[in-house]
């Protein structure tokens, strides 16, 4: 169980590394958003799942803890794409220019 937890957490960290690199290196707002939203949600969910596995190995009352972390995952799964959609809409409305190949 613990090995599974570490595997999940390190996978999440790798995805998060991808997120940060994408956030830094992509040329325009929309692609940065792409990297940020997907990688961020996925890595958070993976790390939290790893936390559940880690928690379930120790102590009693851990089902409640696991349930709470599952709730956090649920809310992130709803909230993060919503926020992404809202921000994307805002960027579109505010007139952020999509990056074109010949613009640089």
């Amino acid at each position: 169980m613990e090995i599974l937890a570490y595997i999940l957490i390190s996978t999440g960290l790798i995805f998060f590394l991808g997120t940060t690199i994408g956030l830094l290196r992509f040329p325009d707002f929309y692609s940065r958003m792409h990297a940020a939203s997907k990688g961020d949600t996925l890595s958070t969910v993976l790390i939290l799942l790893g936390c559940i596995c880690l928690v379930s190995t120790q102590g009693e009352m851990n089902w409640l803890l696991g349930l709470k972390i599952l709730l956090i995952i649920n809310f992130i799964f709803i909230g993060s794409p919503t926020a992404t959609h809202a921000m994307m809409d805002a960027g579109n409305k505010a007139g952020a220019e999509p990056w074109k190949k010949d613009s640089e």
Binding site: L13, F16, L17, T19, T20, L23, L24, F29, R32, M33, A36, S37, D40, T41, T44, I47, L48, C51, L54, V55, M61, L64, L65, K68, I69, L71, I72, F75, I76, G79, S80, T82, A83, T84, A86, M87, D89, A90, G91, K93, A94, G95, A96
Partner: protein, 89 residues
Amino acid sequence: MLLVLVRAVKGPTVIDRLVAINVIGTKSIVLLLFAGILFGQLEMFVDIALGYGLLNYIVSIAASRYYQHRRCLEPTHTANGGQPSRWKS
């Protein structure tokens, strides 16, 4: 990890910053849980993280609402200082 994001916070436009803040918000949930594991009393930190998970998208929604409405407002405010240079930080 967060150190890398600091550069993103200095990103070119406001909305980029918004994205970065959203990422930082979700990552602070994870860091809170790690702090809880380090303290050995995770059940106390889970509540804070849950509150974060519920709340941290309010800011981005508020900001996006701001941009949705503000776009139509621009002409009335040109009197107070020309075209607002929104895209320069």
